[in-house]
Amino acid sequence: MKKFLLMVFAAIFLLTGCGNDKKSVPTGEKTFTYGTIAYGVAMENVGTNPHESYSGWSTLRYGIGETLFKFNEHMELEPWLAESFEQVDEFTVKIKINDAATFSNGKKVDGAAVKKCLEALIANHDRAPRDLKISSIEADGQFVTIKSAEKMPALLNYLSDPYGCIIDVDEGVKNGIVVGTGPYKAVKVTDTQIDLVKNDNYWGIVKPKIDKITVKSITDGDTLTMAMQNGELDAVQGLPYSSLQLFQNDNYKISQVNTSRVYQAAFNFKNPILQDLNVRKAISMAIDKENFCKVLLNGNGSPAISPFPANLTFGDKNFQPITYDLDAAKKLLADSGWIDSDNDGFVDKNGKNLELNWLTYTSRQELPLLAESAQANLKKIGVKLNVNATDNYKTFLKNGEYDIFSKAIVTAPTGDPEYYFTSHIVPNAVDNAGFYDSEQISALENELHNTFGANKRSEIAIKMSQQILDDCALIYASHLRMSFVMKPNIEGFSAHPSDYYEITAELDKK
C-alpha cells in the first residue's frame, strides 16, 4: 500500500511538470509573446540603452524607441521623429522635429532633448562618433542644427541606425530600461527577456493595440520551433530553414523579405597562392550558389553577385554573375601551373598540393553549410579545403590562421553603400579580413566620401563593387531572406528589409 501511494504521488508530481504553464489572462487584455534568436548576450544587444553597443537594435526592434528618420522597403529615408530637414551646406544639416512627438513619459521631444540625446550618444557609444563625425549640435525650439567635422553625405542615414534612437536622457537608464518615444514601454529587461506594455502617451497617428508584450530570447532553433508549434508563442523570428516548412500551412502566416545580409567569403591576400587572380577566380567559379540557396537554405536566400541585394539601386542587378563552371575553374588553375601531377586527386605545384583553410563560425547556422558545400565542390577541381567552423574564430582571425574567412554581414544597414566599403573593403578597414588592398578602391572611396546625392553615390558604389568582382577579392554567396512566422490572428507584423523594425504600432491580435 505504501508503495502504491508513493507511485501515485510520484506520477502526480511528474505529470504536473508536463502541463502547459499558461497563466490566466484577464479578459479583454491583449497579450503577444514573441520568440526570437536575435536577442541575447552573444549578439551584444541586451538592454534597451541605444548608447551601448548594439542594444539600440532591441530599442528599435521592440518598439521602445524611434529614430529621426526611418527606412522604407527600398531602404530610402522617410521622416519619423523628424518632420523635415534642410542641407544648409556640405557640413551642416538643419532638422525640424515633429511638433507632436513625445516621450513615453509625456515629455515633449524638442530640439534640446534631441541635442542632449545625440551628445550622450557621441560621448558613450563606441561606433557612433566614428560614423557621425559631428563637431557641434545646436538646438532652437523644434530645430536641431548638426555640423560635421568633414563632408558627411550619409549623415542622416547614420542617424537612422538603431543607435540613433532618441531617448529622454534626463530619465537615465534604470535596470536597462530607457524612456523612448515608441508605441511600447519596457517594464522589465533581462538578458533573456524583455517585458513591454502599451505606451498610452504614444504620439503617432496609429495607436498601439496590444496591452502586454513579452519578447523571449530562444537561441536554440529546435526549441524555438517546438515553442511555436505548441502554441507558447504568437510569433517567431529566426527559425532554422529546415523547420520553416512545418509552418507552411493554414495554421500559420509567414512574412518574408529579402534583406541586405550577405554570406561572403574573403580571400586572405597574405597567402601568396591567393594573390594569383586565376586561383581566386577558379575558387569563385566552383561555388554552386544556386544549389546552396535552393537546397541548403531551402530557398530562403537568393544567389548573390555583389554585396548588395537587387532591391537596392546599387545592388545585384548592375552586375554579371560569375558562373558555376568546374571545367573552366580547372582550366584557370592549370593556366597558373596547378595540375594533379601525382594523381592523388589534388592539384599541385612544386610538389605541394593546393590546400586551403576555410574559417567560419557556427552561430549563423548557414555558414558551416556553405563551407561544407564549398569543400565538396573544391575537391572536384582538385583543391583541398579544410573547414574550421568554430565560435572561437576571433582567435584564428587574430593569428591569421585562415586562407578564406566567411561571415554573414548586413551590408547596407543605413541604406547607403559607404558603410560596407569603409568597414570591410578599403585597406586598413576594421573588418577587411582578407587584407584586400586596391588603389582603385581607395580612390573611388575617396570620391564616394565627398559626393552628395543618392544617384551619384550609387554610380560610384557600382564601380566599387565591379572592381571587387573583377579582382575576385571576395565571394558573395547568398542574400538572406528573413522570415517571421506567426499565428493567423496576428496582423501588422511583417519582416522589413532593414532588419530594424519588428514590433510597431501596427501590431494587432484579432
Binding site: T225, S242, S243, D288, N392
Partner: protein, 264 residues
C-alpha cells in the same frame, strides 16, 4: 558457465564493419549531390540521404570506423597508462604514490564530461583533441583500481616469496603483478567502452569532436538535429547505430564481468 560467444560475435561484427568500412559502403560517403538531398529511405539509398545528398547508410558505416576505432584506441591508451601508473604507485608506495594519487584525486573531483567539454573547447575541437581531453580525465579510474589490486597482492604470501627469491622490481611487476590484475582491469575496460563511445559522440554532437565532413555518429546527429521533424532518418540512423553499439559493448562487458569477476 555463461557463454560469451554471442556477445563476442556481435562485438566482433561491429569491429569487422568498422575495420572494413571502406569496402562495405554502397556509395562514397563524402560525395555531395544537392539535387538528391534529403531523399527518404528507398531501394537506392536504404537509409535515405542527408541535406548534402550524401548516402546516410554509407556515412553510418564509415562513421563506425571513426567512432569505434577512436573509442577503442582511446580506451586502450587510458586503461594501459592508468594501470601502469596505478601498479607503480601500489608497488612502490611512498612519496611517488602520494603525489600521483593526489593528482588522480584532483582529476576525479571534476565531472568527467564537463572537464572534457572545457578541455576540448580550449584545445580547439577536432577528434584528436576530443580524445586527448577524455584521456586526461579518464586515466585516474584505472590507476585507482590497479593500485588497490596491487596493494591486495602485496599482502599475499606468494608475493613475499617472489620478493625473497631475489626477482627485480620489473620482473615482479611484469611476471606477477600485471597478469594478476589484468582480469578486473579488462572487465572495467569492457564496461567502459559504451561510456567512451557516448562521450566521444557527445563531444562531436556539441561540435567539439570530429570536424566536417568527417562521418562521425555524434556529428551526424548534430547535423540532422534541426531536421528531426522534417527528415528524421538523418538523425535516427546514426542514433540507432550508437544505441546498438553501446548496448552490444555494455552487454559484453556485463557478461564478461560475470564470467571473469565472478561477482555482480
Amino acid at each position: 558457465m555463461k557463454s560469451l560467444t554471442p556477445y563476442f560475435a556481435a562485438a566482433g561484427t561491429l569491429i569487422f564493419i568498422a575495420v572494413f568500412a571502406d569496402f562495405l559502403t554502397p556509395y562514397d560517403p563524402y560525395v555531395q549531390d544537392l539535387e538528391g538531398a534529403l531523399t527518404p529511405p528507398n531501394s537506392t539509398n536504404l537509409l535515405g540521404t542527408d541535406r548534402y545528398g550524401r548516402d546516410v547508410l554509407s556515412r553510418v558505416i564509415v562513421g563506425s570506423q571513426t567512432t569505434l576505432c577512436a573509442s577503442l584506441l582511446l580506451l586502450a591508451t587510458i586503461s594501459t597508462v592508468g594501470s601502469v601508473i596505478g601498479a607503480i604507485c601500489g608497488y612502490s608506495g611512498g612519496r611517488l604514490d602520494t603525489f600521483l594519487m593526489r593528482l588522480s584525486d584532483i582529476f576525479l573531483a571534476f565531472p568527467q564530461m564537463v572537464f572534457a567539454i572545457a578541455a576540448a573547447g580550449a584545445l580547439g575541437g577536432g577528434l584528436l583533441n576530443a580524445a586527448a581531453a577524455l584521456a586526461v580525465i579518464g586515466w585516474p579510474k584505472y590507476a585507482r583500481i590497479a593500485r588497490g589490486l596491487v596493494l591486495s597482492i602485496r599482502s599475499m604470501t606468494y608475493f613475499d616469496a617472489v620478493k625473497m627469491s631475489g626477482s627485480s622490481s620489473v620482473q615482479i611487476l611484469f611476471a606477477h603483478v600485471f597478469p594478476n590484475i589484468a582480469g578486473p582491469i579488462l572487465v572495467t575496460a569492457a564496461l567502459d567502452i559504451g561510456t567512451i563511445i557516448m562521450e566521444l559522440a557527445g563531444l562531436s554532437f556539441l561540435g567539439l569532436g570530429a570536424m566536417p565532413p568527417t562521418a562521425e555518429w555524434g556529428a551526424m546527429m548534430n547535423n540532422g538535429r534541426s531536421m528531426l521533424q522534417t527528415a528524421p532518418w538523418v538523425i535516427l540512423a546514426p542514433g540507432t547505430a550508437i544505441f546498438i553499439t553501446v548496448a552490444t559493448f555494455n552487454l559484453l562487458g556485463d557478461n564478461l564481468r560475470d564470467v571473469l569477476g565472478g561477482q555482480r
